[in-house]
């Protein structure tokens, strides 16, 4: 259980967190979502006692983090998988962390096995891929077998197999009754791995709901309709209680009736229909709707015409 109560954090004139309150409950994988710069990492650092909040409190299992004795038995965390001394082996890295909380060498071997790192455990970590470092970070988080796990962007750098593995890993942990908080800036990832979502933007809470409910609440269910007799059909549909939004290209967007009803109606009047497309907003769209106002850094949309095309493509924009 993680409880945030009216948490605020200001860095000079910049407000990173603004009166943020939420509770992360055990037994679920909770996705912690927000655009880059929304305050996810700051929130996690405050929970871990690394940053001091300007106002408000963060409690873990009812206790302030800096009051915990041997905290790794209460909270396992992974903030930055690359935060390692490159010259140290994975085994000694884990052993040093384990010792600080009175955890023995046997547990170090266990978490290495748990994360599939045994074969490389005695190599210096500066030869590791990002995916291996993520696994090592998870191993460190699991050292104390903690009831609460908190991970910042743990999926970054993992390959497809690794992502599947980590999703299953989180679900298993949650099923064991643990509290699992996983941050991401990718809604698509969270849709698959989290059953509860907390969305923040610019340090403010935007949503705190079950994943399914967030989709339902933000989803647009509508039907895109094209017909040579669009105006006539629009009148008929409106009479049946549908709402019509004409599009600039002559198409109609219909809400309030499903595609089958629209098609049947058109057929019964002998009106040709050229396109009848049911549209459902994805979770990604719901997320964009939610956070659209709160994104700090907007990119300029690239258009096919205009000066943008004359620029040399920026290699950074495609580098992933």
């Amino acid at each position: 259980m993680i409880e945030l109560d009216q948490l605020s954090k200001r860095f000079g004139s910049v407000t990173a967190l603004d009166d943020l309150s939420f509770t992360v409950r055990p037994g679920h994988v909770t996705g912690f979502l927000g655009p880059n710069g929304a305050g996810k990492t700051t929130t996690m650092k405050i929970i871990l006692g690394l940053d001091t909040p300007t106002a408000g409190t963060a409690l873990v299992n009812g206790c302030r983090y800096d009051r915990l004795v041997r905290p790794l038995h209460q909270v396992g965390s992974l903030l930055d998988a690359t935060a390692l001394h490159g010259g140290r082996t994975a085994r000694l890295h884990l052993a040093s962390i384990a010792q600080s909380n009175g955890i023995g060498r046997r547990r170090v071997a266990e978490v290495l096995a748990l994360t599939g790192m045994e074969a490389v455990a005695d190599r210096r970590v500066n030869g590791y891929s990002l995916g291996m470092k993520q696994r090592l970070g998870l191993a460190a988080a699991m050292l104390g077998d903690p009831p609460v796990l908190m991970l910042d962007e743990p999926v970054n750098g993992l390959d497809t197999e690794g992502i599947g593995w980590i999703r299953q890993f989180f679900k298993t942990l949650a099923a064991e009754g643990r509290t699992v908080l996983v941050s991401s800036h990718l809604m698509s990832e969270m849709a698959l791995s989290a059953d509860h979502l907390i969305v923040i933007g610019r340090g403010k809470l935007l949503a705190d709901t079950p994943t399914a409910q967030l989709i339902a609440a933000n989803a647009r269910h509508d039907v895109l309709l094209r017909s040579p007799r669009a105006a006539e059909l629009a009148g008929l549909l409106t009479a049946r209680g549908a709402t019509i939004t004409p599009q600039p290209d002559g198409a109609l967007v219909v809400t309030g009736l499903d595609a089958a009803a629209i098609g049947d109606l058109a057929a019964s009047r002998g009106i040709a229909v050229h396109a009848l497309v049911p549209r459902q907003a994805s979770l990604e769209d719901a997320y964009l709707d939610l956070t659209g106002e709160s994104v700090d850094y907007h990119g300029t949309p690239v258009t096919a015409s205009g000066p943008v095309t004359e620029r040399t493509p920026n290699p950074m924009s495609t580098a992933r």
Binding site: M1, T23, P26, G27, K45, L48, G49, L50, D51, T52, N61, G62, Y65, D66, R67, L68, V69, R70, P71, L72, H73, V75, S77, L79, D80, T82, A83, L84, H85, G86, G87, R88, T89, L92, H93, A95, S96, I97, Q99, S100, N101, G102, A140, P147, V148, G177, R178, T179
Partner: protein, 275 residues
Amino acid sequence: MSAAPLNTVTVPTAPARPNVPSIAVRARDLLGCEWTKFRSVRSTYWTLAVAVVTPIGFSILVASAFAAAPPGGTPADPLLPGLLSLEYAVIAVAVLGVLSFSSEFGTGLIRTTFAAAPRRRAVLAAKAAVTGTVTLIAGEVVAFSSFFADQAVLSGHHLGVGISDPGVPGAVLATGVLLCVFALIGVAIGAIVRHTAGGIAAAIGVIVVPAVLALLPAPWNGRIGRFTLLDAARQVTALHPQPDLFTPAASLLVLLAWPAAALAAAALLITHRDV
């Protein structure tokens, strides 16, 4: 936890605080952690090798130069080669001290460290204890090795002293403390500056500035100089201390006050900063 009555609220994970380990156990845990970190990186062995090998070799060279000096002038202090030769060694151990914190701040590992041990002053104490103990042992090895090597050179010219001569054991022991003093100052600077390059620059400043103060016109060079590490070190390690500076005992206090003050400043700053 909504409006459910208190007695039905289930708290599934928070265990009753398991028997809290004693302070001694927690200290042992942190010391073990820092010792594992200390011995598991190569920079430790490089800096210690520099700190141990160079001064022993260097002091033999200085002793040979003393022995070769034409007779007639005031004879140099026979323990001086052991001190002069530490010049590079103190930089090496100061770097070792700085790195104990700055390498963690530089990589972000410090967050893992502080998340595992939220009492940051205990982390500072553990790092200081590990680095201090190792450099104290290394320092005494250097001091006694240099002493016996130097006296072997000097005794051929009837300039040497024996380990049991009055004042000699204390002075040699005090020479050995110097590496530890500079290593602890390095630890404190690392915790305060948090940046490797800046920390090393600051540490070298602490080592070099006293030599600049020595250029002040008399009597100010002595009046200010006696509070510096350089003159204090000279007094505690000399067979014949200079009368115009602090006594060896007072100089030893000066020598210990520097790392104590630096560590106190680090302890004040370390708890309040975001990492």
